[in-house]
């Protein structure tokens, strides 16, 4: 009888102990699958801890290119006895549990409906490597070899990935190869292989790259000319700062003098971090910070200052699970309202919603132009899933003709030739955006006094009601100007001419939503979809919302915050906006979206039958 294989469609989960070197082995495995031309979605599921606690690494392998998380584990590599019970339970019926059989598996872990593949990982490692540390490290490579053989991965590709990884530590290559072979040979000698889920070389990744969103944001900032990066460590945003520093060291050192064309300042807290950014952009540099919910909470007073005194700021907000310290190593989209309306008084802020690393790069770069153009704070709203996990992404692009848009700034010459009085908050051309000057520009013209107190067109303090109104109403007009400058939504193939059903999503919900669109189509459910890329909502968003009768709003928080923004900003009738939510800290899946939508469509309306 011919065996039937499921090809290039599986979820593999590695259950490890953090701090044991498993992360790099797992990464090399995932990268090898990617090198075989098969789309992958790796996810680290890690604790807020440095050593000793359970950690998981999950890779979805999907030839069709669906990049969202998928529930149900086909193969679990369980090398952490602490989490065995949970791990065994998490395997899909008919799936595989790969474990270290150096010691026998306790019978409480035995399930009738899954397959067990024991490999004496520790024993093999002890027989072949001298020290405990090496044994632990190479145990990881042993299971990679075994797993690769079981799913028929290309061993040569894995070897080339290993060789690249240790390019600078050539001595480590032979023992890594040896460990790989130990795993391969053990499977070949003891098991029937490949198993019924396997991979096959394909050509489905095109020119894609594998990169995490935080690195892409950092590169976007470097390309956009950010010279000051002020930050305070917090998961999941820390790696934005780290990547900025790493790449700035490579790309921003003056070749002749060896001096740095950037200042990387680890601040004493988030208040100071954003204060430094405000000071730097006030001084005429491009500057940014990166943080997460607790940091944004601390920055609120300064955020109001940047709004009211009209000082550009770029803030990369990598969301994690809240409230409070919440789930610091899990992902959510739960800081939408607190970002959109951060600080006291009437304030609103421009938000950009990247959905993959290429957009993290582009939108971060764009945020600098928008911040300078609109003279206000721009937040790039990312999240832990996008920021810290590697994603299959289109390559990052830069057009060498592209010039930085520094917005309305008077130069020394312009000031010199100016006959009228300079008014820092004077709207001279009707777009509600005034001109600014940098300190030090001109000896007698263009100086002004920046303040967070109410001020007139000439930056003079005033508590007169009419002066205050002129100013805040102009800021509202500027908000309207912003609507014409932020990126419009992406509208997907319209397949519902009657415009009865709509689907709205943004950011990391996109992967699952795109897959859900296909699943719904398979069920003959016609639905039009829109991916929102920015706040304030542009005309196109408004049109889509007003044209559709029933709109599913997909997001990853409990209170449907995005839906609240739609209701609040567009005065949409709440009853037509239906919540589709996932907020347990794990990225939303297509199945979740589909089943919630179908559940809410019951009973099936006549026109869909």
């Amino acid at each position: 009888m011919e065996r039937k294989f499921v090809v290039n469609d599986m979820v593999i989960r590695f259950a490890n102990v953090n701090g044991t070197g498993s992360a790099s082995a797992n990464d090399m495995f995932a990268k090898s699958i990617f090198r075989m031309g098969i789309p992958i979605t790796p996810k680290n599921i890690f604790p807020s801890n440095i050593q000793g606690l359970p950690t998981w690494y999950e890779v979805r392998i999907n030839g069709k290119g669906y990049l969202g998380r998928k529930a149900g584990i086909d193969i679990l590599v369980g090398v952490n006895p602490q989490s065995f019970m949970r791990d065994v339970k998490s395997v899909k019926s008919g799936g595989y549990f790969i474990y270290d059989n150096s010691k026998p598996l306790h019978k409480e872990y035995i399930r009738e409906d899954i397959n067990y593949i024991g490999i004496p990982m520790i024993k093999l490692a002890m027989d072949n490597y001298p020290s405990a540390r090496l044994q632990q490290l190479f145990k990881n490579i042993i299971y990679v070899g075994a797993l690769a053989t079981l799913i028929d991965a290309d061993i040569d590709v894995i070897k080339s990935v290993i060789s690249e990884q240790f390019e600078k530590k050539q001595k480590l290559i032979p023992p890594n190869f040896q460990a790989l072979e130990l795993g391969i040979n053990y499977i070949k000698e003891h098991y029937d292989y490949p198993i019924d889920v396997k991979v096959e070389k394909a050509n489905n990744v095109g020119d894609s790259i594998l990169i995490d969103g935080n690195t892409a944001c950092a590169l976007g900032a470097i390309y956009a000319g950010a010279t000051v990066m002020a930050w305070y460590p917090i998961t999941p945003s820390t790696s934005v700062a780290k990547a900025y520093e790493t790449y700035a060291k490579k790309l921003r050192i003056d070749k002749e003098t060896g001096k740095k064309k950037y200042a990387f300042v680890q601040a004493e807290d988030e208040l100071a971090a954003i204060g430094m950014v405000i000071g730097a952009t006030w001084g005429g540099a491009r500057a940014f910070t990166a943080t997460s919910g607790p940091g944004v909470s601390l920055m609120n007073e300064f955020i109001g200052l940047s709004y009211f005194a009209e000082i550009p700021v770029v803030l990369i907000n990598v969301q994690r699970g809240g409230p409070s310290t919440g789930m610091p190593t899990r992902s959510q989209q739960a800081d939408l309202i607190s970002s959109a309306y951060a600080s006291h008084g009437d304030t609103k802020h421009v938000l950009l919603f990247p959905s993959n690393p290429a957009e993290c790069f582009e939108m971060t770069a764009q945020a600098f132009d928008l911040a300078d153009r609109l003279q206000t704070l721009i937040m790039v709203i990312s999240d832990l899933d996008l920021g810290m996990n590697n994603h299959l992404s289109p390559p990052m692009k830069w057009d060498d003709e592209r010039k930085y848009d520094r917005g309305k700034v008077f130069t020394e010459e312009q000031l010199e030739n100016m006959t009228e009085k300079f008014g820092r908050y004077l709207d001279v051309d009707g777009d509600a955006i005034p001109y600014r000057t940098y300190p030090g520009t001109h000896p007698t013209k263009g100086s002004f006094f920046t303040r967070g107190t109410s001020h007139d067109e000439y930056a003079k303090y005033s508590e007169l009601g009419e002066v205050y109104l002129r100013n805040v109403d102009r800021l509202a007009d500027k908000w309207d100007t912003a609507k014409t400058m932020v990126p419009p939504p992406e509208l997907y193939d319209v397949n519902d001419d009657k415009k009865s059903l709509g689907l709205v999503f943004f950011g990391t919900t996109t992967y699952a939503a795109v897959e859900a669109m296909d699943l719904l189509q398979e069920q003959n459910i016609a639905i039009n979809s829109m991916r929102v890329k920015s706040f304030p909502f542009t005309k196109e968003v408004e049109t889509f919302i007003s044209e559709h009768d029933k709109i599913f709003v997909v997001e990853q928080n409990r209170d449907a915050q995005f839906r609240t923004l739609l209701i609040n900003e567009l005065e949409t009738n709440p009853s037509k906006l239906i919540k589709v939510l996932n907020y347990d800290g794990t990225p939303i899946t297509a199945q979740t979206i589909m089943s919630q939508i179908i559940g809410m469509l019951e009973p099936v309306p006549a026109e869909l039958n």
């Binding site: 000051v228 208040l271 100071a272 971090a273 405000i278 000071g279 005429g284 006094f449």
Partner: protein, 350 residues
């Protein structure tokens, strides 16, 4: 409400070397209480900038929130100013300084703004040796919120409310010394002859220069039982030395008797001359400064003058090794690595 002072300049007012008269360094008319110490400090700032012939746009003035932090509107109208939020002036100044290392940054704060809400940022600006002049207009109370004791109010000092302060006061100069500040001075708003040269020297110093200036609040903390009142300060003031600042190009002709004078050369070639030095005290030796401070305190004296200067000070830009061209003058040609480099990065991620 503030209003502009008449621009009319008395013809006899002398232009300084860069062609400005003293009025060019003034600001709008103060709205502080008549007699407030802060106004005298504003006057000293104007005097110092005029005398060193600073072009007004070469300086940026920044502050937090409080009566003291309002003062930057009352001096240097031709300089960019930034009245930020309560206690956070140091971070704004840090950023501004990163953007353009070629300006002088003058920060003004109050004792509430610095010693309570802003303590964290104050301490870290010192730690980074940020190149700035940091003036604390120290009145021992929160003037703007109507006179509550501040963290610099001395133990046992009695404010207008009649309550004796039960807490130990924070000595900002002592703290700055402890933290390694590279220039520490203390003065009194009523002593212009000391304050003006001290501001000049602080502006020449390449690093963090703290000037803790006692500045009585006439409205809430000027009763004679308050240790920050005019009468108390005048009665207990004691100075480390007499103090003069000599800009780089002036030859030094003053002669002091050996043993009681000292001369400190600053980074830009200017000199600080100290005469009638207190015994056992050396302005470049932190330990003697710390000892003198403690001694004065236990004798109930208020020690003023230059307390410490590190002539080898290296500021944050030197520590970070930033380029000489100011960041705010850089554009895509200086900063953007270009598409070829990006393609290389992409390639490395495949």
């Amino acid at each position: 409400m503030s209003y502009l002072k008449p621009l009319f300049h008395h013809p006899s007012l002398k232009e300084n070397k860069v062609g400005y008269v003293k009025a060019d360094y003034e600001g709008v008319i103060s709205t502080l209480c008549a007699g407030c110490g802060h106004d005298s400090i504003s006057g000293a700032i104007v005097q110092a900038c005029y005398e060193v012939s600073l072009e007004p746009h070469r300086l940026a003035k920044l502050s937090g929130i409080g009566c003291s932090s309002k003062t930057p509107t009352y001096f240097l109208s031709n300089s960019h100013g930034f009245n930020s939020v309560h206690g956070r002036m140091p971070s704004i100044t840090t950023g501004a300084n990163m953007a353009n290392k070629h300006l002088i940054y003058l920060g003004v704060s109050g004792d509430g703004d610095t010693a309570s809400i802003g303590m964290g940022q104050f301490v870290h600006a010192i730690r980074r040796n940020l190149n700035m002049v940091y003036i604390v207009m120290n009145n021992g109370c929160y003037g703007l919120t109507k006179g509550q004791d501040s963290a610099t109010a001395d133990f046992g000092s009695i404010s207008k409310t009649g309550e004796s302060n039960p807490y130990n006061g924070i000595d900002l100069a002592g703290l700055a010394l402890e933290l390694g500040a590279s220039f520490v001075g203390r003065s009194f708003s009523g002593d212009k002859s000391q304050l003006v040269p001290m501001i000049k020297a602080a502006m020449s110093h390449p690093g963090f220069a703290l000037l803790d200036v006692i500045s009585p609040c006439v409205t809430f903390n000027n009763n004679k039982e308050s240790t920050k009142s005019y009468s108390h300060v005048r009665a207990h003031i004691e100075s480390t030395s007499e103090f003069d600042f000599v800009p780089e190009e002036k030859a030094i002709e003053v002669d002091y008797a050996a043993g009681d004078s000292a001369e400190v050369e600053l980074f830009d070639g200017s000199k600080i001359l100290l005469s009638k030095l207190a015994p056992d005290w050396n302005p470049t030796d932190k330990f003697t400064a710390v000892n003198r401070l403690h001694e004065a305190k236990s004798n109930g004296q208020i020690l003023t003058g230059l307390l410490y200067i590190n002539p080898e000070s290296k500021d944050l830009h030197s520590m970070l090794n930033t380029s000489d061209k100011a960041f705010n003058a850089m554009d895509e040609t200086d900063l953007c690595p270009g598409s070829m480099e990006l393609e290389k990065i992409n390639q490395g991620l495949r």
